[in-house]
């Protein structure tokens, strides 16, 4: 079975060592937990913890004024392989962590944890931190959602993007009213400045390709309501699902690649419908003025300020503030991938990842989920391929299909082994290779069962052809046999 191993280092700062340690520092400990996926299979998670005390450099770093500086100073001293975690335990009375905050999670793979009296309580807190930073039972179950029986998971859990080898991102500017607004956006600059850092960080996960387009006279499918109190137009939350469809027909996608497409649309409302705000379920306008749809992309409404003088000449020139737009689009990109910061317990303080878009541990989060999902996909694909080949006895398997199957099996075995050793990066690469090979083997065009006649069809075709012809032949054969037998008997009869 699959075992997910997270190597963790727990470093005790001066004055934070709990009194009831079973052995003197440094020592190792292992905690295992079982995540059951369905009735038959489960995934075990194993946290291998190495407890030790701080070195001199780490102590100096922990003496910094704020948690952020301490984290920055500690970063060069850590082990930063993918999938590993480092936790620094600071004394209960330490002022490094603000009041009421017990855990500070940094941008990289480390956290500062406030000490608790006993080792058991500290281990519980460390386990909580480890789950936030690597994977939870929920995230693993969501990654394997098509193997979980239907009743147990809520439909909301199946909304993250599926693991794929690549994604295409398309930024579209929708201008339904070019007579009133001439909209310019420096999308190429924005992509280089803001989007590329995020995609470079995500390049471990998949290949990304980015393109952009401007669509004119593309209207939303819904007419917004005019609200007198705020003298603005409102789109209510339950009309949002119908907004996307009329636009989608015009969005287009690249004909050559088969990767899933993520569309990010920026809509500049018409002058007659400005300003346009999106209302959430309670009727309050949404601060970001944007919404997203799982596995599809996001839409943001960009309101243009009314011109200072009503006699301003149309069309108005609008320069889109791409930084503000990218803040929302990149947040939507994170949400589409399932990296949300909402389910974190309140006493945690998470560091903002800055322009990189996501912290290292969030990247690990993605890699854990995708590796597990890839392994599950490969096993279902190979199982169903084996069932297909069993069912059709006379199917011909080409050599390259066979070699892809062997390669897929070898890769998935190596991925499972690497996971149980704690090498997340290698495991992820192996799982990606396994998925590529198994998909290529399963979807090979020569495996169409139609091409291989089942035996009953052969009978059905040849019997009407040959049976009438065979009747006189068989009768003649019978006559021949009878004659030879008679001739054989004759000489004995004659004397």
């Amino acid at each position: 079975q699959v075992q997910l191993v997270v190597p963790m280092a727990v470093v005790f700062g001066p004055g934070s060592v709990p009194r009831d340690l079973p052995r003197p520092l440094p020592f190792r400990d292992v905690q295992e937990m079982e995540i059951s996926v369905n009735l038959r299979s489960s995934v075990t998670s194993r946290y291998e913890m190495r407890y030790r005390s701080t070195t001199g450099q780490e102590e100096a770093a922990l003496a910094a004024a704020t948690a952020r500086e301490a984290d920055a100073a500690l970063y060069p001293l850590q082990d930063t392989t993918l999938g590993s975690l480092t936790m620094y335990v600071v004394p209960e009375t330490s002022s490094l962590l603000p009041q009421g905050i017990n855990v500070y999670v940094g941008k990289h793979r480390s956290a500062l944890v406030r000490a608790v009296g006993s080792l058991a309580a500290l281990q519980a807190r460390l386990r909580e931190v480890a789950q936030v930073m690597s994977f939870t039972a929920g995230s693993i179950a969501a990654a394997l959602s098509d193997r979980v029986p239907d009743g147990r998971l809520s439909p909301d859990a199946r909304r993250n993007l599926k693991s794929s080898l690549g994604y295409e991102i398309t930024f579209s500017l929708l201008n339904p009213d070019p007579k009133s607004h001439t909209v310019d956006w420096d999308i190429e600059g924005a992509v280089n400045r803001y989007v590329k850092p995020v995609l470079d960080k995500l390049s471990l996960v998949a290949n990304f390709s980015v393109d952009s387009q401007i669509l004119y006279y593309a209207v939303l499918g819904v007419t917004p309501r005019y609200d007198k109190e705020s003298s603005s137009f409102l789109l209510s939350a339950h009309s949002l699902p119908h907004v996307i469809n009329p636009v989608e027909a015009r969005l287009g996608s690249s004909a050559a690649s088969l990767y899933p497409v993520l569309n990010f649309l920026l809509y500049v409302p018409e002058r007659s419908h400005s300003p346009l705000y999106i209302q959430d379920k309670d009727g309050a306008p949404v601060s970001t003025n944007a919404f997203h749809s799982p596995r599809w992309g996001g839409i943001m409404v960009y309101n243009v300020e009314a011109p200072a003088s009503p006699q301003a000449s149309l069309p108005l020139h609008v320069d889109v503030d791409v930084a503000r737009v990218m803040e929302v689009f990149l947040a939507q990109l994170r949400l589409l991938f399932g990296l949300s910061r909402e389910e974190v317990p309140p006493e945690f303080l998470l560091e903002c990842p800055g322009n990189e878009g996501l912290a290292d541990w969030e990247l690990d989060h993605l890699l854990w989920a995708h590796t597990v999902e890839n392994i599950a996909t490969v096993s279902t694909t190979l199982t169903s391929l084996a069932q297909l080949l069993d069912k059709i006895g006379n199917i011909v398997i080409k050599d390259d299909v066979a070699s892809e199957v062997y390669r897929a099996v070898a890769s998935v075995q190596s991925a499972v082994t690497k996971l149980s050793l704690g090498h997340l990066h290698a495991a992820f690469q192996a799982s990606k290779e396994a998925v590529t090979s198994s998909e290529r083997a399963f979807f090979d065009p020569s495996l169409l069962h139609l091409l291989y006649f089942p035996d009953d069809q052969k009978f059905a075709i040849y019997i009407p052809l040959f049976l009438p012809m065979a009747v006189p032949i068989l009768l003649s054969l019978a006559k021949i046999v009878r004659e030879t037998r008679l001739r054989k008997k004759e000489p004995t009869k004659m004397d």
Binding site: R158, K162, N192, V243, V328, S476
Partner: protein, 398 residues
């Protein structure tokens, strides 16, 4: 005293009645306030994130005009309710609009009096004419497509896609005829759906078939999450609706005609469910008995919306988080330096050596010796001939 007590109790009784009424009204109010919430909950319960449609018309030739009109009408409804062309795989013989026998060229009408031209300007046919074969249909369903196929000809569904499959044409008990030259059996179709399920290429599947004896095609399904509708039971024929004397052929089949009348009232936000679709076209109108099959489907058909399959209503979430980006980032230097590929100036390349191809000699097909079966058969025939009629004929042959 005696008069006061009944008065007091009477007042208390009316007060109690009033309280009861208020409570009831309060409950009703709460229930009414709850129902938009319930509707929202129900709306999110289907679990799919995108919709696909595969519409197949399996006949060709002019007298099968009605099958093309059927398919195109369903195509129009599905597009109207929101599924974009990129998510529709339309397979038609497409020989109606420009047929020399068509008195109104470039049109395909679905209604008498030529009210609605279903072959408008934006019909996107993905597989046309001789590409509509059983092999291509099964390749689309199972995904075993040659790598050179463009994106529009593929069914790129995932495990959260609801797929609508509509087939029409001439059929029989257990098979469906493709273009008058081949057929697909119900076993093959069931196996194709099972392959789709194994690879999780659909979340839920709605299969509608409008042919004679259509119910036989869904008898053999065994994969989960499939709902099937057919226009007639085994042993019955599906009849066509109305001939148009101007065009000279029947324009639509009855079942699809009434299904379309039903769909015309559906708009993207409607809450009509599948049970209403099952009631469409009773025996009095359709002459055949439409059938349906829901035992493989996990949800209750009462809770399945028509727009779950025919429309494309997406789940949306309000974005409440934003990133905070530093604005003044100048040019960005990528951590992984991109190598500038040496690109040579592009010039026109000879794509096809046309002259070579035209003057090519036909390729010699390799000669294979006849197989054992044929040899044995001929040996048997020759032996029997000569044995029956005597060996003396041999010297005349050789």
């Amino acid at each position: 005293m005696a008069a006061a007590v009944p008065g007091a109790s009477g007042a208390r009784a009316t007060a109690a009645l009033l309280l009861l009424l208020l409570l009831l009204l309060g409950c009703c109010g709460a229930a009414l306030a709850g129902s938009p919430q319930d509707q929202a909950e129900q709306f999110f319960r289907s679990g799919h994130t995108n919709n696909w449609a595969v519409l197949v018309c399996t006949s060709r030739f002019w007298f099968n005009y009605r099958h093309v009109a059927n398919t195109l009408s369903v195509y129009r409804s599905v597009k109207r309710l929101g599924i974009p062309d990129s998510h529709i795989v339309l397979m038609l013989a497409d020989d109606m609009a420009c047929n020399p026998r068509n008195p109104k060229p470039a049109t395909v009408f679905s209604h008498k009096n030529m009210e609605l031209n279903v072959y408008g300007d934006d019909v996107e046919v993905d597989y046309r004419s001789y590409e509509v074969t059983v092999e291509n249909f099964l390749r689309v369903l199972t995904g075993r497509i040659p790598p050179s196929t463009p994106r529009s000809k593929r069914l790129l569904s995932d495990d959260r896609s609801n797929i609508l499959i509509y087939m029409t044409g001439h059929g029989g008990n257990g098979f469906l005829k493709f273009q008058d030259s081949e057929e697909i059996t119900n076993v093959e179709l069931a196996d194709a759906f099972e392959q789709m399920w194994q690879k999780r290429r659909y979340n839920e599947l709605l299969f509608i078939i409008d042919t004679c004896q259509g119910a036989s095609m869904y008898e053999r399904f065994y994969s989960p999450n499939i709902m099937a509708l057919a226009s007639s039971q085994v042993g019955e024929d599906s009849l066509s609706h109305q001939p148009d004397l101007g065009i000279g052929v029947h324009l639509m089949d009855r079942y699809t005609f009434y299904v379309l009348e039903f769909l015309e009232e559906i708009h993207p936000a409607s809450q009509t469910n599948m049970n209403d679709l099952f009631q469409v076209c009773p025996k009095s109108l359709c002459v055949s008995t439409p059938g349906h099959r829901t035992d493989l489907f996990q949800r209750d058909p009462q809770k399945v919306l028509i727009t779950d399959f025919f429309g494309s209503v997406r789940k949306v979430e309000i974005t409440t988080e934003t990133l905070s980006l530093e604005r003044d980032v100048a040019g960005f230097e990528s951590k992984f330096p991109e190598e500038e590929l040496a690109t040579e100036p592009l010039k026109y390349a000879e794509q096809l050596p046309v002259a070579q191809i035209i003057h090519q000699k036909p390729k010699q097909k390799d000669w294979h010796p006849p197989g054992g079966f044929i040899l044995g058969l001929w040996a048997l025939i020759i032996m029997v001939f000569f044995k029956t009629y005597g060996i003396k004929h041999m010297k005349h042959v050789f």
